[in-house]
């Protein structure tokens, strides 16, 4: 059984016990434990179920590579599925529950899949569930969906907050093992700005566990000194619990700092996502141990040899009383020795190599450990945990020579460098025959913005697996002098299948990918069926697609594939390494952007007043504008109708502050505006306003608004609410990139002004009440403006109208916007003033037949389609969009053109309705001849009115056409003039 040892444990604090629960069972551990260590200490060997066959799963690793021991951590608004127990720091009150089983971890009906596993080989689902057609959706897929998935889906909103931060450095060192520490020391001493990251809470990596001696000191002491030295360097920042997740182009690195994972609810952000820009990356990311492929290598109790050592030395936890070690290399002997030193039994070391020499085996033998050379584990015995191993010849086919009772197996198939950060941006790898792993090819690095190498890999990550080799590698690549005492190790021998001649029955029990249940036989099947590209094999078998992304399985799988194809491993190649190195919480990627600060919400200076009045607001771009101001008991529709009728009969007020306002000034400003607008703006007299249209180079209408001639050499261009930034950018684009010799300056002053439209028969009275300015018809005629003071505020008042009523648009500095609004409300009270919202504005402009960008236009409409030829200058040789409009299809006579529509029954034409035409096109689709673009109930006219585009446009006035209705049927409407209200324009001009 797995248990806590009485002595030792370099990372735990035995004076601090911490209670936690697993599947509701109360357990205790120590401060410094990982959850995995604490579970093992409580003899919780079985921790989960595999994805496909629901086989029992135990802890196999001690770090981020763990594929099995994932739990639902926490509950409610802090439930986190698929949390790795091996990287979860224990805290008091932690709640964990195992995943992917029903009804319980011990008894899981899904294990039925295990008993029919031979009928569920790789890719079985591609070959079956084909008939009958409906069965996939209704029967098979629901069953597969339900049995797939791992952790529980959270239900609640996340209780924690997240944040992000930027950091900059010359050198980013990733990995706080001895290679990373030494690299940071060397770089720090050179004066460079250095950031050093370590993903765990602890520094030093494997060296302290392995008992290495560096610069004459025990590794533990050397690490402590190194940290102190780094801490004293002003130019070095060190950060633990911070994982470099991904390397992106031009030296951009994402790192995920687990700020409060181990102290949930303390008010700090749960994670902080660092966005680091570095000149160069030093990846000292270490290496990961590989499993060996023998039958039953997935049973709980079979663990990586290095992990067994970690648990024993770091946490004083023994995975078993009797541990058999199986290996193809010398490093695993350290595990046997550590176990023995901890007072545990190692019945045998099964070494696949025919000849076992070297210092570590000698030491093991000297300790009395039985070493079996040239032998293999034929099969692991046991069910939900290991009970023993059957031994045979590695060179054989699986005949059992001996059986050894044990309760744990420590395996080592050699070590693979962690090359992820090298590979994310395209660094290439070479195959190292001697150590049987891929390591970075220094000749083909990922490159930076200037073409230089962006990543340097040092230490075990570069294939320098021992402490001595790792520090020598740092010295060779970066300088510095730290040295570790060399411990002689004999060569490892690659072992991809154990025993090498195993037959199909054994291969069906040799796991490559523990979580996804991919076995040696599955990879061989993929090869047999022609899925021979490594990407095909991966996708067909799902090898390496589990939450560990193949950290344990990829190289073993690749080797099996290469053997099956009779090719070399480097010829087969690897799959692509994609970020992140280990999964990153989505909340951290979303960062601070939640709730109030999810997106910028733009507020007009009068926004708070609208909200206080209970206005129903609608998003317009990033702005929020009042749609209407419902009174108690009023529906939105009723409110809109009231606001329209009040404006038409008395007077209304609209917050139009969001309208874009751009000043264009200079000797060439008139010429410039003549290119920008379809009509002529250079001839506009000072003091006057003119409506203008802007098109893109394709000729399609992109924006409209009123242009004001402020002075001889300056104009003020109003744009749509959503268009201000876009149009300002458009102007600058042309001025900077095409007509850079023209003398024109622009300034976007949209937010400088609050703008309020006062519209309705009583509008003038309201302004006169405020006083300070002559707003009479004579002093301020239609399409003119004056500047002065209104009610004591500096104001520019325009006589322009989007409602068709007598209307003034008043601009005042934004700081006075609320004051003006309130003054108008007060002054207007006796004249019946009421605010109106965007919807009333829309309806009123439709009653007048005014177009709206975004309603009548959709990016495919040219001004000519909207009968706006009057606003297109025929005299100008050029304007933006003119050439585009001359193209064949845009110049066709039968384009759909704007007209008005009145339903015969007074109803409202549905939004989005089309006008079908007779017959069908060659694709069998009903022909069409037009569509509605704006459709409303007009409270002014008491009936439905609409504008739309129809082939023939105004030529068809009087004709009755049919519009589609949602859900079938049509509504009849008569084509008419789109101006429904005050056709003569007497009101606006009044």
């Amino acid at each position: 059984m797995s248990t806590r040892l009485a002595k030792g444990g370099r990372l735990i604090d035995r004076t601090k016990t911490q209670g936690f629960s697993f599947n509701g069972k109360r357990m205790t551990g120590f401060a410094g434990d990982t959850l995995a260590a604490a579970l093992l200490a409580n003899d919780q060997m079985l921790v989960g179920r595999s994805f496909k066959y629901h086989r029992p799963r135990g802890i196999v690793a001690s770090g981020a590579e763990e594929p099995n021991a994932l739990v639902n951590l926490g509950s409610g608004s802090r439930l986190e599925p698929n949390q790795r127990t091996t990287t979860t720091e224990l805290f008091a009150g932690l709640e964990a529950a195992s995943q992917n089983h029903w009804p319980s971890l011990e008894f899981d009906v899904g294990v039925a899949n295990n008993y029919v596993a031979r009928f569920l080989p790789a890719g079985f689902y591609y070959k079956t569930f084909i008939h009958p057609r409906a069965a996939w959706k209704h029967v098979f897929e629901p069953i597969i969906r339900q049995s797939a998935g791992l952790g529980k889906a959270p239900k609640d909103r996340d209780a924690d907050r997240y944040e992000q931060a930027y950091a900059f450095c010359d050198l980013l060192v990733v990995g706080g093992g001895i290679a990373g520490l030494q690299a940071a020391l060397v770089a720090g001493r050179s004066g460079a700005r250095v950031i050093l990251l370590e993903q765990t809470a602890h520094w030093g990596g494997r060296a302290p566990v392995d008992g290495d001696v560096i610069d004459g000191k025990p590794a533990e002491a050397w690490v402590k000194d190194a940290l102190q030295a780094l801490g004293e360097m002003q130019n070095v920042t060190i950060r633990n619990r911070c994982k470099a997740a991904g390397v992106y182009d031009h030296g951009y690195v994402l790192a995920d700092e687990k700020v409060a994972d181990h102290t949930p609810g303390d008010g700090r952000p749960k994670h902080r996502l660092w966005r680091i820009r570095t000149g160069r990356i030093i990846a000292a990311t270490g290496a990961l141990e590989r499993p060996l492929s023998f039958a039953g290598n997935d049973l709980p109790g079979v663990m990586l040899a290095g992990a067994v050592r970690d648990y024993t030395v770091n946490f004083a936890v023994s995975p078993g009383d009797r541990t058999v070690v199986v290996t193809n290399n010398d490093d695993a002997y350290r595990t046997a020795i550590a176990l023995k030193e901890a007072g545990l039994e190692v019945p045998a070391i099964i070494d696949a190599r025919a000849s076992v020499t070297g210092a570590l085996p000698a030491k093991a033998r000297a300790m009395g450990i039985r070493v079996e050379a040239g032998r293999a584990v034929v099969k692991v015995k046991g069910g939900k945990r290991v009970t023993g191993v059957a031994i045979g010849l590695q060179a054989g086919e699986g005949a059992v020579l001996d059986e050894i009772g044990c309760d744990a197996v420590a395996m080592s198939g050699g070590w693979s460098p962690v090359v992820h950060l090298w590979s994310h941006c395209g660094g290439k790898l070479i195959w190292d025959e001697a150590q049987a792993h891929f390591r970075p090819d220094p000749k083909r690095p990922p490159t930076n913005h200037d073409g230089s190498a962006m990543v340097t890999v040092v230490g075990a990550a570069n294939g320098a697996l021992t402490a001595a080799a790792a520090l020598a590698d740092v010295a060779a690549q970066m300088g510095g002098e730290a040295k570790a005492e060399a411990v002689e190790e004999a060569a490892m021998e690659p072992v991809w299948i154990m025993p090498q001649g195993a037959g199909p029955a054994l291969k069906m029990k040799m796991w490559l990918d523990y979580q996804n249940d991919v076995k040696v036989s599955d990879v061989q099947l993929a090869a047999r069926e022609g899925y021979t590209s490594v990407e095909h094999t991966k996708r067909y078998t799902t090898l390496g697609m589990a939450t560990d992304q193949g950290k344990l399985s990829n190289i073993n799988g690749l080797a099996v594939l290469a053997q099956s194809l009779n090719e070399g491993i480097p010829q087969v190649g690897t799959t692509t390494f994609r970020p992140p190195y280990t999964p990153v919480t989505l909340g951290a990627l979303a960062g601070e952007a939640r709730d109030e600060i999810f997106q910028p919400l733009r507020r007009s200076p009068i926004h708070a007043w609208h909200e206080a009045q209970g206005a129903y607001m609608e998003p317009v771009g990033l702005w929020r504008r009042p749609y209407c101001y419902p009174k108690a008991g009023e529906s939105h529709e009723q409110a809109v109708h009231r606001e329209i009728l009040n404006t038409r009969k008395a007077v209304g007020m609209l917050d139009a502050s969001t309208l874009g306002k751009i000043i264009v000034k200079g000797p060439d400003a008139g010429r410039f505006l003549d290119m920008l607008y379809t009509n002529v703006m250079s001839t506009l007299p000072v003091g006057k306003c003119r409506y203008g249209l802007m098109c893109n180079e394709q000729g399609f209408l992109s924006d409209d608004g009123v242009v004001v001639r402020l002075t001889e050499d300056s104009w003020l261009c109003h744009t749509t609410s959503g268009g201000a930034d876009r149009i300002h950018g458009w102007m600058e684009d042309w001025l900077q990139c095409e007509w850079w010799d023209w003398q024109v300056y622009t300034a976007n002053v949209t937010e400088q002004y609050a703008q309020i439209a006062v519209a309705g028969p009583n509008a003038r009275k309201v302004l006169e009440k405020l006083g300070g300015m002559d707003v009479s018809k004579e002093a301020l005629p239609f399409m003119a403006f004056v500047e002065g003071h209104l009610g004591g505020l500096p104001a520019r008042v325009h006589r322009i109208s989007f409602s068709g009523e007598l209307s003034y648009e008043i601009a005042v500095p934004a700081s006075h916007g609320l004051a003006l609004w309130q003054a108008l409300i007060a002054a207007g009270a006796e004249f019946g003033v009421q605010p109106y919202g965007t919807e009333a504005m829309h309806v009123m402009r439709a009653e007048k037949g005014f177009i709206m960008i975004g309603d009548e236009t959709d990016g495919t409409v040219i001004p000519q389609d909207l009968n706006l030829g009057w606003a297109i200058s025929k005299k100008k040789a050029d304007y933006l969009g003119k050439r585009g409009q001359e193209r064949v299809y845009l110049a066709r006579a039968d384009r759909w053109k704007l007209a008005g529509f009145e339903t015969l029954d007074g109803s409202v034409i549905p939004d989005g309705a089309y006008i079908p035409a007779a017959g069908h096109n060659p694709n069998g689709q009903r022909n069409t001849q037009g569509r509605v673009t704006s459709t409303y109930h007009s409270p002014t006219l008491g009936k439905g009115i609409a504008m739309g585009l129809i082939r023939g446009g105004l030529d068809r006035i009087g004709e009755v056409v049919e519009f589609t209705k949602m859900g079938g049927g049509t509504v009849q409407a008569r084509v008419c003039d789109p101006v429904f209200y005050d056709k003569e324009g007497e009101k606006g001009n009044g």
């Binding site: 951009y252 050029d878 050439r883």
Partner: protein, 107 residues
């Protein structure tokens, strides 16, 4: 996540401070041009897998448009220069040729 140095203000701006603007040095064709000329101006894009000249605006910075020579296959940036240039500066062209002897040139 590109970094491009704005030739106007000297800031080494990261991509999120910039807005992209696609191919540089397009010649505008207006009224009077042929259908082919206008079509090529609007749509026929170079789209090379290799050295490319393109427009960027330092939108969150000084607001200026500038031009960049960048490799679309490696994202290496050879240089940036003001938008008021009708063709790439000679020293930049020479620098690219030195780094990429196979490059067929800007035209």
């Amino acid at each position: 996540m590109l970094i491009l140095e704005c030739p106007y203000c000297g800031v080494k701006a990261e991509e999120t401070e910039l807005s992209p603007g696609y191919e540089a040095h397009l010649k505008r064709f207006g009224p009077g041009s042929s259908d082919d000329e206008f079509n090529d101006y609007m749509f026929a894009r170079k789209n090379p897998k290799g050295v490319h000249f393109e427009r960027w605006r330092h939108a969150y910075g000084c607001g200026k448009w500038f031009l960049a020579a960048r490799c679309t296959a490696t994202l290496e940036v050879f240089g940036t220069y003001p938008a008021q240039s009708s063709e790439p500066p000679a020293d930049l062209v020479a620098k690219i040729k030195a780094k990429r002897p196979d490059w067929s040139g800007y035209k």
